[in-house]
């Protein structure tokens, strides 16, 4: 396996983990919060809300802006 494939496999594992946890949270009774619950909790305070929204804005800047 090349370094390129290993790197991509790592991203896929992380993505699978995110999907798996979300499925566990929404389809089973496992004590796992959904991603929405996490965001809601994180965004309860102003700093949390602004922090998450700035992270979102940064994604746009990173991929599209100068």
């Amino acid at each position: 396996m090349s370094s390129h494939q290993v790197t991509i496999a790592g991203y896929l594992v992380v993505a699978a983990g995110i999907v798996g946890l979300q499925v566990l949270a929404t389809r089973t009774r496992a004590p796992v919060p959904s991603l929405g619950d996490l965001f809601t909790r994180a965004m309860r305070s102003r700093t949390g809300r602004v922090g998450v929204l700035v992270a979102w804005a940064w994604i746009g800047l990173h991929f599209f802006a100068k």
Binding site: H4, P31, T47, V50, A57
Partner: protein, 340 residues
Amino acid sequence: MSRAAPGPEDRHAQNPGADGGGAASGCAVAGRLRPGGRALAALAGLREPVVWVLLAIAFFTSISGKPLDGVLMLIVAAGLTWDAGRRARRGTEAGRGAETGRDTKARRGTETGRGTETGRGTETGRGTETGRGTEARRGTKARRGAEARRGAETGHSPEAGRGTEAGRGAETGRGAETGRGAETGHSPEAGRFALAGRIAGVRPTGRPDGRGRLLAVAALLAGGAAYAGAVGSFSRYSWPATAGIIALGTVVVTIGWHSPLRDRPAGGRLPVAGTLAWVTVLVAGCVWELVALLRQPSLTTSSYSHPTISTLTDPVLATSPGRSVLLLAWLALGWYLVER
């Protein structure tokens, strides 16, 4: 009714000393910080972990060849620091104010008690009821409700039921909603109905919220598609694309800065194990991306052997339709977050 001459206790209560009004002014003076103290209070905002995360992003983005991103992150971090410090300072002052308020209330209570002793029972009774009502935000209306409730208990008044509800509302802290209904000439039931309607998504006019929401969603979808098409048509890293992203980002962050778009229940504690699982996965993703970034020939030169997510998305973002599709996804994520 004439007021009895103030006794020794009254003079003490009215004495602008360490309690009561005197305390209020004293606290106001104490609450005014010197310029140095104000700067220190502003630095209290640095206790927020989010600020440090933003500063880290600003630093790494700048050294990765995107100084504009870094400057914008720095501006937001500075704004958050200032804002958090300001709120912390206000919180301290409000705490002092609350203590002063409790002192004042206690003093009033003493005065009321004395009034009863000196034969001013009727006036004192009114004062007490009004005081309770004020705490429930709508004193007089709440008092009427309480009186009607007493009627209901004895089985006299035909409007006793409404009074009962109003009284309950005032007692259980729902006096605000009940009082609003009563103030605008509606029955307390109407006030409660309006509240229930808001919770159930039905407007007081009877028009379901769903239609308006559908129209809003349709307008947002159309606007989002137009935005994604327009900004996606500009070449990547161009000034027009940059302006479009910064403009929308500023609007969204400003919205978030003020308040959430809608109230959500506070919710309980998140399950620790499940939350830790999320943190593990998300941190692992960040670390994996960071390792790939650091194994590039340089921070600004991409590597085929160790591609970052940016490198992997380059082929898609090289085309206008690809940019528009990813912009739509970015917009959808933003809307999802703004609604939190």
